[in-house]
């Protein structure tokens, strides 16, 4: 039996988790959208953020201080990927995968060679927890809003504009005297710092860090960005301001979790969760492409031809 009230009861939890993943999507936005660099480091740096936060809190650090260190750890991960790419000439995707794989071991070490570590809200002062889910939603959204404001400011500065130019047209950026290698490394570091922050938030929210907490983070982050974009474009036409782009990434994260919640509620097998995620992301990635290309595709001509032939047959 499908009972709508179970879905509704779970809703706040989905919104909270979605908002936390939305923060991750903001981090990914820097690499994926502004730098046009598909950075697979994030699966690892998300878990690094979670692991560092949880271990430091267990060691008696205040949660805020633990999260600052988590951000720095994430930035270090981004720095490594950036240097693998710029200094050693490794292709973006591979550079990210290498760091991600390396981080799996690093994260196990951080977690004291255990696959997971609990951090109970009863014992420690956490910034947010699923125990107080409404409060958790507010806190996650405050983080997201603060980051959106910071992005809006920074990417409107000379330095931020240099990073955007690097992503948009590296040849032009170099001709205008921009050190694109530095821009890439810097942006990847900041991006992964934010990803680690959201990892630290999720670990506190759920009360534990798991070495696999970041598995598939890249896909969830992409899903958030793209679902947000598709919907915002549908609502606000083509002209998207930077505010709207950023906010829609966070909203996309929330929507993604709600969609997943519905999938769970429909009692679709949870083993197939990743499959559904991949299908949903593939669909949302494909929609804008197909929409754009249909007008100029051979398929359209073929369909038109068929239609004509049918009509001719009817008239005959």
């Amino acid at each position: 039996m499908l009972d709508i009230s179970t879905l509704l009861n779970a809703f706040p939890g989905y919104i909270a988790q979605g908002a936390i993943w939305g923060i991750m999507a903001l981090g990914l936005y820097i690499s994926y959208r502004l730098l046009e660099f598909s950075d697979l480091t994030v699966d690892g740096s998300f878990a690094t953020g979670a692991a560092v936060t949880v271990m430091l809190i267990i060691m008696g650090w205040p949660a805020w201080a633990a999260m600052i260190v988590a951000v720095l750890a994430g930035m270090l991960a981004g720095l490594v990927t950036g240097l693998l790419h710029t200094a050693l000439g490794i292709a973006p995707i591979l550079a990210g995968i290498l760091t991600q794989i390396a981080l799996y071991s690093v994260n196990l070490h951080i977690l004291g060679n255990k696959p997971n570590q609990a951090v109970s809200v009863d014992k420690y002062d956490l910034i947010l927890s699923l125990r107080t889910v409404n409060e958790a939603i507010v806190i996650a959204l405050i983080f997201a809003a603060a980051l959106i404001c910071a992005f809006y400011w920074f990417f409107g500065t000379e330095a931020g504009s240099a990073i955007r130019a690097t992503g948009c047209n590296p040849a032009m950026a170099k001709a205008q005297g921009i050190n694109i290698d530095f821009c890439k490394v810097f942006a990847l570091a900041v991006s992964n710092g934010i990803v680690a922050l959201s990892g630290g938030l999720l670990a506190q929210y759920q009360g534990f860090a798991d070495v696999a907490i970041g598995r598939g983070a890249i896909v969830i982050g992409l899903a958030s960005i793209i679902i947000g974009e598709v919907i915002a474009e549908a609502l606000f036409s083509k002209h998207m301001s930077f505010w709207l782009c950023l906010s829609s990434a966070v909203i996309g994260g929330i929507l993604y979790y709600i969609i997943m919640g519905v999938v769970l509620w429909l009692k679709l097998p949870t083993n197939d969760m990743k499959l559904f995620t991949a299908i949903i992301v593939a669909i949302f990635l494909a929609v804008p492409y197909l929409k754009k290309n249909f007008k100029t595709s051979f398929l359209r001509l073929k369909l038109a031809e068929k239609k004509k032939a049918k009509e001719a047959a009817k008239n005959a």
Partner: protein, 262 residues
Amino acid sequence: MLDIKGVFKTFNPGSITEKKALQGIDLHLEDGDFVTIIGGNGAGKSTMLNAIAGVWPVDEGSIFIDGKDVTAMPEHKRASLLGRVFQDPMTGTAANMQIEENLALAARRGKKRGLGWEVTKAEREKYHDMLVSLDLGLEDRLSAKVGLLSGGQRQALTLMMATMVKPKLLLLDEHTAALDPKTAAKVLEITDKAISENKLTALMVTHNMNDAIKHGNRLIMMNEGKIVYDVSGEEKKNLTVEDLMKKFSELGGHFSDRALLG
């Protein structure tokens, strides 16, 4: 202003695709020289400009700009000395960024990029006035994405970006080749104006011999990675396309058909 001494560049050395693109280039430019460069496809014209810009290091030889040895200087550091416009209108501007953002990026060439606003209000007004004098109807579209502009508009904008911080040397690589004849003429006119008003030193590659003769005070012809002909002053002014064709066939080269057009 520019000194190139014994520059060699070979692409993919030792492989079957090995290409000796520059084979001993020596070139000296005086302050204010406006040199046009012609030569067949693959003669090494773009490669020479890329060597000056530092797209990659040269194999041998040295390059001085304004007395400064830039041979070991990476591309983004040399950029403060150079203005560049490329053949492909897409190359010189950032399509996803606004007109004013592109201009502001160029205004900071060679300067430190900090946490100040990328475009200030005063700049916005200045850009508006500059675009008015460009007369392409761009002055009221400062916040439009450059990707929406036509090829000619983009090249004119790139030219403005290349010259707004006065470069020691302006590098133009067939920057009108991708444009229709009318637009090409207009962009060339803007080029002439920018060079003479700012008293720039410039190298302009063109495949159009008439343009090569009409513009600038000196003309060089390249073939197989070498400078094979170099004229200036009265001699250059009196050149005809036939002279150039003859000169070229004497050297055993042949121009593609498009060089004959126009």
